[in-house]
Structure formats: C-alpha cells, structure tokens
C-alpha cells in the first residue's frame, strides 16, 4: 500500500487560508480530513515569491493583515507558536505628493494624536471628525468582527434578504453618531459629506478600494464603517512575507492530523444519489468523503465546473451563472528591488511618511484618484498609474538583502478579460516604467540608478496562478446583491448547497475575500451544526 489514504470524513478543496482554516477545525473536532490543493504550495493568496532577484521577497497577493487580532484560526491554533510573526507599524497609511505638500498619515488607533496632528495640518475639523470616528469605531471592533465570524442573517422565509435588516446597523450608526441615512449612501458621498480636505478624501477613497469596497456603491454605509473606519490603519505586516502565515497554518493543520494532497487539481466533485461523496483529480486519482466535501474555490467553479450544471436545479444553475466576478478586487502587483528606501519630498514637512507602512503615490488631486478608480472599475487600465506601495524591508530586514529594500504595490485594474494576452503583455512591459516617472516626482531618489529590477504581475496571471477568476481576488464582486445574506446568492448564503454534503467555504461566501478566514470558520459552524461536531468556536471566550 503506498500513497496517502483515499477516504476521509471530509475533503476540503483548495488549500488557501479558508481551506486551511476549515480543515484545521474539522480535524480538531475529530474528523479525518484530506486537503486537496492544485498548486505546489499551500496558502492561495498568502503568496510570497522572489520574482526578480533572489533575496528580494514580494507578496504577490495579500499584503497586509488587519484581522490577526480577531481571527479565531490565529488564536485557537496558536499560529504564533507555529511560526507566524508580525509587526504593527506606527505610521499605517499615508498619501504623498509630488509638489512636497504635507503628507497625510493615519497612524495606529493607539496613536490617534499623531493622526490628528497630521490631518490638522489641513483641517482641524477633519482631524476632530476622523479621530473621533476612529476612536468610537475601535470601541465596537469586537461586534464588527462578530459580523464577519458568523454566518450572515438568515432571510425571513419566502422573502428576499434585506441588506438593511441587520439589527446591528442602527445601533452601530447611533454609537458612531452618524446620520442613519448614511446606510443608503455610497462611501464616496459619505466621505465628501464628512470631510472637507481634498487630500484626506483621496486617501480615504483609496482606503475604501483597498479593502475592496466600491467607493461609489450605494447602500455602502456599513461598508464605509467597515473598510474606512475600522479596517484602515490596523494593518500588520507579516515578518518574512505573508506566505509565512500559510506555513504556520499548514503546520497547525499537520499537528491536527490533516492530510495534504498537493499538486492535486480537482476536476470533479463526485455525486452519488445527489450527494457529494468524493472528488476526482486531473491526474486520475479519486478520493472519497464519508460526510462532507467543502470547496474553497469560488461558487461558479465549484458548482458549474466541478459539480456540473446538469446536476443543479434550474434555480441554482441560474443563480450560479449570474454570480459576477469583479470589477472590485481586481488588481496587479508591482514589485521593485531597490538599493535604498524611498525618500519623499513630502517628508520635508513630516518625515514619518518615509516610515509609513502603506503610501499612496502618484495622485495629486481627488479627480485623479476618482478617474483612476472609475477606469479600473470600468473597462480600461487607468491612464495615470498611481499606486499604493509597501516597503516591507523598512520593518522587516529579512525581506531584502542586507542594506537593500523591497517595495511592493497594488494597481487596481479591470478584469483580466478586458485585454487580450498581448494587451496584458504590453501592460507588463510598460506600466511600471510609467509609474516610476510619477514615483520619481514624489521620491526623487527612486530612479533608474536605485531600481535594480521590477516586475508587474497582472490580473490574467492571478487567474492562471491561483484560479482567481479574471484576477478577482475576492472570488466574486463586492456589490449589494452579492454581500452578506446574498453572498454568493440568497439560497447559498449559509455555506450549504442544494447538493447534500457539499459546502462552500471560500471567499465567494460571506464575508468575502481578505485574510480573515471568515468563510472557512463560518462553514465549520454550518458543518458542525449539521453533523453534531463540537462547538469549537466557544473556546477562548470570544463573542463569535
């Protein structure tokens, strides 16, 4: 007998952070678990590589960690003992300008006086408003986290889910002192109403997009609270790159007895009497599941490609086919090997910008920012190539050779299908150079003599590497009709599918993409309820 076993209590499809999370909990509950991963590495978007010069590490997908303090997987499985380490930079996110204007920097929530000082350079009123909102938001962060780490509310029988029916929303707005009508507005309208400073508005638009919330999405009040007020400026940096977190998660899974089946591309979820009973892989292997098959790949791939439309009811087939990818959360990662860290003109006013974790570069006014976002969410590559940049080596020397620096940034781009193969090749060949021109204007020391190498990693490549369709790293657009109790669609929002034994545990389920492992955790709750497994989430005194 050779090779790993072929029968497990549960099979988990996909070894990204959600698959790893669910596998760890199922194994701890006593089940045997086989985790099938198509790639040669676990971690999905927790991906760190040396794409240009060995020794320069770049995170090609996930960059920053805002959920480490909340993530049950992180706490329950002691991922720090499994080797995960992080840094919590003081200056969190900022924007810098070519003309040397004062930068705007939002610091950690425990350093709000610094944030206040930075914003107050432009407007004391804005500084007061922002800092007060941030302070009050952090008072209720556990409740906000609870909204991620629980299945979304179940819609009333026979009724459509109402995105405003969440009982949490009204008290939340009351606590923050925000007009309840903001629930109906888009983040952009809210930002413009609350703040007068163009520079701050620009930064907040970008923050909103950074977490994947379309800035002009109506009924976006809750999203504004989540992505702009809560999840901004609580970003941690993974020492060694985000892939080290995947390593820690993997070690946790191994300790629980999970079997890793890698280079195992699932091509079919096997049904028997309309029940999911196993999976077949591209190389002809078959694995059996006694109780559960859980898929962390997106809902369309799971139901249309792996289960097959012919095995779905007409309603489920239609719903699945109508599930949309992008345009939100489609990005390109720009990677730079540098002989020195950027020194910005704006540092003359506030040197902290040179030590800021995340710095927005290349936008001088709000129109440029909005043009960019609208282009990216529309159908073309933005004309003016601004970016948000991380220089991780400022905080973690292990990510670059001694004395050198590594910069990684995000461009937001249209979905991969908007250009053909040659079009993306052209973007990869030219776009970084165009960005460098803008970058040099803001940081004159970053130029051809300090740049050793650069590479651009585009949405079409994210699709081919990680099967993030069209480059959509959230596995499905963030839109009101695809969020919460409607994600991926109302009938599938509780992680169960119409196929008995088949569960969804990936980012196309609530709460979506991002390294929180919420879908994996919530799927465990659903599976535990259905199969009488231990209520492991009650550990550690959390409210979720």
């Amino acid at each position: 007998m050779s090779g790993p076993p072929s029968t497990y209590d549960a099979l988990v499809v996909g070894g990204g952070h959600n698959g790893l999370c669910l596998a760890a909990y199922l194994a701890r509950a006593g089940w045997s678990v086989g985790l099938l991963e198509r790639r040669h590495e676990e971690g999905g978007g927790l991906n760190t590589e040396e794409p240009s010069i060995p020794g320069f590490y770049h995170n090609l997908h996930a960059q920053f960690m805002e959920f480490l303090d909340y993530m049950p997987f992180y706490q329950d499985f002691d991922l720090e003992r499994m080797g995960s380490r992080s840094v919590y930079p003081e200056a969190q996110c900022g924007i810098t300008f070519a003309d040397g204007r004062a930068p705007l920097i939002i610091h950690r929530p425990d350093l709000l006086d610094r944030t206040h000082k930075s914003i107050a350079r432009y407007s004391k009123a804005d500084a007061d408003t922002f800092c007060e909102l941030k302070r009050k938001t952090m008072e209720i962060d556990q409740f906000l986290a609870a909204s991620l780490y629980n299945p979304p509310p179940v819609a009333e029988q026979g009724k459509l889910p109402n995105p405003l029916a969440n009982p949490m929303i009204e008290p939340m707005f009351a606590h923050l002192g925000l007009d309840p009508t903001y629930t109906l507005k888009s983040p952009k309208v809210i930002i413009d109403e609350l703040f007068e400073t163009p520079e701050l508005r620009m930064l907040l638009y970008r923050e909103c997009v950074e977490w994947g919330t379309p800035v002009e999405m109506e009924m976006g009040g809750t999203a504004f609270v989540m992505s702009v007020l809560w999840l901004s400026a609580i970003w941690k940096l993974m020492i060694g790159g985000t892939h080290t977190l995947a390593h820690a998660m993997t070690q946790a899974c191994l300790r629980e007895g999970v079997t890793f089946l890698e280079s195992a591309e699932v091509t079919k979820i096997v049904l028997s009497d309309s029940r999911a009973v196993g999976a077949e892989t591209a190389d002809g292997r078959t694995f059996q599941a006694r109780h559960v098959v859980a898929s962390s790949v997106d809902v369309r791939q799971t139901l249309l490609d792996l289960v097959g439309a012919e095995n779905l009811s007409e309603l489920w087939r239609k719903r699945t086919e109508r599930f949309r990818y992008g345009p939100s959360h489609v990005l390109a990662t720009t990677t730079w090997c540098l002989t020195e860290a950027p020194h910005y003109r704006s540092a003359e006013v506030d040197p902290e910008i040179d030590r800021c974790f995340y710095t927005v570069v290349g936008f001088e006014d709000p129109d440029q920012m909005m043009d960019y976002i609208r282009a990216a969410y529309g159908d073309h590559v933005p004309e003016r190539p601004g970016a948000g940049m991380w220089v991780n080596s400022l905080f973690d020397p292990s990510q670059a050779p001694a004395g050198m620096h590594v910069a990684t940034g995000w461009f937001f781009f249209p979905t991969a299908d908007r250009l053909d193969e040659r079009g993306w090749e052209e973007v990869r060949r030219t776009y970084n150079d165009r960005f460098l021109e803008l970058w040099t204007q803001s940081a004159p020391n970053i130029n051809s003599s300090t740049v050793l190498a650069n590479r651009l990693y585009t949405p079409d490549q994210m699709d081919s590497k990680n099967r993030m369709r069209f480059g959509d790293f959230s596995n499905g657009a963030f839109a009101v009709d695809q969020l919460n109790s409607s994600r991926p669609f109302p009938e599938a929002a509780q992680y169960r599918t119409e196929i008995e034994g088949l569960y969804l545990c990936g980012a196309s389920s609530h709460p979506g993409g991002g390294i929180h492992a919420g879908p994996g955790y919530n799927a465990y709750k659903a599976i535990a309820a259905d199969h009488g497994l231990a209520e492991l989430w009650e550990a550690n005194g959390r409210i979720y």
Binding site: M1, S2, G3, P4, P5, S6, T7, Y8, D9, A27, G30, S32, H40, E41, T48, E49, E50, I53, P54, G55, Y57, R81, M82, G83, I239, G240, G241, H243, T244, H247, T250, Q251, L254, R255, E256, G257, V258, T259, F260, L261, E262, S263, E265, A282, D283, Q288, P397, S398, P401, Q461, M462, S464, K465, N466
Partner: protein, 548 residues
C-alpha cells in the same frame, strides 16, 4: 485502492521554555533536505525538534518556483534525483505514504551528436545495449558488463560507504583489497584512486561518443571528467545510471513531504528566521540566537546543515574552541565551476533532428546537447576553471514530458544547464549579471541546432546564474551547489576538514549535518542520516531505523 485514516493522533508537543522562550530538544539550522531529514528522524525518536530556516521556504536546493510564468513550475536547483528508493529515508520516513510521487522515465538519458547520431540510456538494459551497439558493439557489451557489475555492488557500496560515517580512503582501499576486489571485479580496482574518469573511459571504451555520454552523465552528478581520483566513484555512478527520477509536482514536493513528516511527529520549521549565533555554555551548544534577537534553547543538541564558513566563521565567531577551525577556513575547497541555467516556458516539446536516427531521443529526459568526445567536456572544465565562458553544450530536460502538472495544458517547462565558471570575469561572481543574457541566448541557440523547433516554441525564459545561486542559497557560496568540491582529497574523512568529518565539532553537542559532510551535496539524504548515527550514539537513542 481505498485506504482509511486511523484516528489522528496529536503529536507530542514541543514545550516552550519557562520564560516563554522557544525551546526544543534539538535545534537544527537550515531546512534543506539534510536538515529536514535529520529533524524527521529525531522527531520520530521522540525529541522535540525546531528547524530554523533563513529563507521563506523549506527545502534548500529542493526549490520549485514559477520563475517564468504562472503555471510553469521550474526546479530552480535540484532536478535529477538518483537516490530514490536507495536512500534509507524513503523507507524509514514513509515518504510515499505521505504523498511523494516519482516517475522514472523509460528513456533516462540521451546524447545527440553533431553528426546526427544519438545514444540513449533506457531503464531497460537491453534497449540501452541496442542503442550503444548502433555506435559500437564492443562498447555496448562492455557497458552491459560494467552496469551488471556495478549493480552487484551498488547496494554494498551505498549502505557501507554512503549511509554511514566516512572511512578513510586507505581503509576503504584495504577493505576492497581484502575483499579481493581486483579478482572479483573487472572494473572496480583500488588503483582507480589515482585515475580520472577520462582515463577510466579510455581504458575500457573505444567510441568517442560512448565515452562522451558516460562522462556527461558523471558531470551532471558533479564529477569532473579530468579530476584525479574520481574514477573510483565512477562505477558507483553507473550502478544507478538508470535510476534518474523526477519528483512529480516539482522537486519542492520532496521538501514538503519531509517537512510534513517532521511536523506530524511534533517538530516545527520556522521559516524566515536567520540564525545569528550558536549559543555555547561551558563548551556545549545550548541554543541559538536569531538575527531578530530572539533566543532559542536547545536542550539536547544543535545541528548545522549549512556551510562551515558560516557555521564556524559567523555563528561561532567568538567561540574559542573553534578558533583553530576558523583559521582553516581558507582551506575549505569550492570548485571554480558552477552551473548556469536557463528555465523556459515552451509551447511545444523539442523535436530533435536526431530523432530520424533514433526516435527515442524525443522522449528522453536528460539530454546531452553536443558533447561528442571526452575532450569537449575537458575543454569546458578547463574554461570554467580559467574563468572563460565555454561554448555552450548545455544539458536539457523537459520535465513536462513526464509530469503534465508542471505546465499548463499543452505547454511545457524546459531547462538548459551548462557548466560554467563561477566567476567569469575579473574574478567577480556579480559579473554574471552583465553577461547572462547573451550567454542564455547562446545556450538556446545550441538547443535550436539540435531541436530546430525550439526557438519558436519559447514563450518566456528566466536565467539563473551562479550569482543567483549564491544570492538565493547563501549556503552555496560561489555557486557551489555541492557545498564543497568533489575531489578525492576532499571526500570521505577529509570532508570538509578532517576535524569535522565525523559530524561532531569541537563544541559538545554541536553537529554538522549538511552537504559539507560525507558523502557530499546532491539529494542523497546521507549527511543528515549519517549525522543521526553519531547523534544517536551520543544521546543514547534507540536506533529504530536500523534494519539489520
């Protein structure tokens, strides 16, 4: 073929130290395959094990990356695994049960020559004989006898001399003489310790092409054709000439497999943790300090799988007991040559002109592109030693012919690899950055000469120079992927220095367990396994892994 999972047993926990400090019974520096192998055996022996790795991935030379484009898996370093099934670790650590899969291509190796002829080594010895016989019947018969003989003693040689602490060359010779080897053997003779591989080939074979192919095969194993004394290792290489195997899903999968075995048995690997210092108290290794300032306690032992220069020069810089070793660092020998690789994403597999002579070349794995006589190889070694770029005669491999998972459907992943000087110009390894593009083009042009469809099939390429080897794996200084020259006076009990050859060091409970040690680099698992034997003695461990 159904199996079942027994109830998952939570492995013994590696308890932390009292002050919250990381603490293990055994601390291993470097998560290459030797460090992981030693770690996995120790974990299975009941020790808590922590492995600390400077890079973001475990595996060292077992490194698979999408260097060119997503979906194309390239083995950046180790590509050919020749000890599959031979190394004890495969059995003891149940690597297959953990999911490791290998394929042994039927056409193992081939040479295509300028005159359009070709020669193939098959897993089927009769087919190999037929292939060689088309060039020289006499050589075909000789090779058949050589291979048969080598097979008879390959297990003895491996288990006695490779998978155990080293014996001296004199003792080895004595044993062989006592055994009556010269009478029992046509090919293996004690006097080979004074011969080069080229001389051995001249003595036994007549055809230039056959000799070139056999010398090529040894060269890929790191054995220089013209180095005195290496002839004694040559029959051993022939004993496994048909055991070249490809790790499915990429070589890195072996690293994952070892890692998983280690963790399942209670060990942990900490990646992106560079070690700054080995902590010594009263002459005994008690832990390590990381470059970020953290200390890790080692309750029983520390083992270093990295090079001697770093271990004694950097990690023990202030330790008095190793001062004498530090003074001898300049005696550590690294070859002047290294490897230059071009990794390719291809839209089609190569179709060789020589397929008209022998269609099997199109399904061969390891290809010799153009070494037609032993002199061609010697010229390359000479050029490499003198810092000149040789005219490329790269070896080529298209793994996707045997592992469809390493490239997108219908596409192929290719590798060209050439022996080159580690320091091509002005003695500087960095000068590779200037010449690499042009040299890569020349390598591809050579391939094109033998496989006329290949240039048009190139979708993307990525170059890996000796400078890149050193940048990625600092252990392989000067691009020395064997971590110490392969030369008779730098092997066995001379490796890496006589004082360190038995895996112990002047610091009590500090061991060397990497490729610096006997037998040498390559995916043998032997340095880790052999260090285990010494550690087991010192710690009085129950040797559960002994099968005799």
């Amino acid at each position: 073929m159904s199996g079942d999972v027994s109830t998952a047993v939570r492995p013994t926990d590696a308890a932390d130290g009292e002050d919250g400090r990381l603490s293990f019974d055994a601390v291993i520096i470097g998560a290459g395959h030797n460090g992981l192998t030693l770690g996995a055996y120790l974990a299975r022996s009941g020790l808590s094990v922590g492995v600390f790795e400077r890079r973001g991935e475990e595996g060292g030379g077992l490194c698979t990356e999408e260097l060119t484009l997503p979906g194309f898996l390239h083995n950046v370093h180790a590509n050919y695994h020749t000890f599959v099934g031979l190394a004890p670790a495969f059995r003891h650590l149940e690597l297959t049960e953990e999911g490791l899969e290998y394929v042994r291509p039927e056409v193992q190796m081939a040479s295509v020559f300028d005159d359009g002829q070709a020669l193939c080594v098959h897993t089927d010895a009769e087919r190999t004989h037929a292939s060689i016989a088309r060039i020289s019947e006499r050589d075909a018969d000789t090779f058949r006898r050589l291979q048969a003989e080598a097979r008879r003693y390959v297990d003895l040689m491996l288990e006695t001399f490779m998978y155990g602490p080293p014996v001296g060359i004199n003792d080895l010779t004595k044993a062989l003489v006592t055994f009556g080897l010269d009478k029992r053997s046509e090919f293996l003779e004690a006097k080979l310790r004074g011969s080069t591989i080229a001389q051995f080939l001249d003595r036994h074979f007549e055809s230039d092409a056959v000799k070139a192919h056999l010398a090529f095969h040894a060269a890929i194993c790191g054995y220089a054709t013209d180095a005195k004394g290496l002839a004694i290792g040559f029959p051993l290489l022939v004993g496994k000439i048909d055991n070249w195997q490809l790790c499915l899903g990429g070589s890195h999968r072996l690293a994952h497999t070892l890692w998983r075995d280690l963790v399942r048995h209670g060990g942990l690997v900490h990646v992106q943790c560079d070690v700054a210092r080995i902590l010594v108290a009263d002459g005994r290794a008690v832990g390590i300090e990381l470059t970020d300032g953290r200390e890790v306690q080692a309750r029983q032992l520390v083992a270093s799988s990295i090079d001697v220069e770093q271990t004694v020069g950097r990690l023990l810089a202030e330790d008095p007991s190793t001062a004498a070793l530090r003074a001898k660092r300049s005696e550590l020998r690294h070859p002047a040559w290294s490897l230059f690789s071009v990794h390719l994403a291809l839209s089609e597999a190569p179709h060789y002109a020589a397929a008209a002579f022998d269609p099997d070349v199109d399904r061969a794995w390891v290809m010799n592109l153009g070494y037609s006589r032993v002199g061609d190889l010697i010229a390359d070694w000479k050029a490499a030693r003198e810092g000149r770029l040789p005219d490329p005669h790269p070896n080529a491999a298209v793994n996707s012919l045997f592992d469809t998972r390493d490239a997108p459907p219908g596409k192929f992943t290719g590798l060209l690899r050439q022996i080159v000087p580690a320091k091509p110009q002005n003695g500087s390894i960095e000068s590779w950055d200037e010449v690499k593009d042009e040299y890569a083009t020349r390598c591809i042009e050579t391939w094109q000469r033998f496989a006329p469809n290949i240039q048009d099939a190139v979708i993307a390429s990525a170059i890996d120079t000796p400078a890149d080897i050193e940048r990625k794996l600092t252990n392989m200084r000067d691009g020395d992927w064997m971590v110490g020259e392969i030369a008779l006076d730098n092997l066995l009990d001379k490796r890496p220095l006589p004082e360190l050859a038995n895996y112990r060091t002047p610091v009590e409970r500090l061991y060397m367990c990497g490729s610096t040690q006997h037998p040498h680099g390559f995916i043998t698992f032997a340095p880790g396994y052999n260090a285990l034997q010494v550690i087991a003695q010192d710690l009085d461990l129950e040797p559960w892994w002994r099968w005799v």
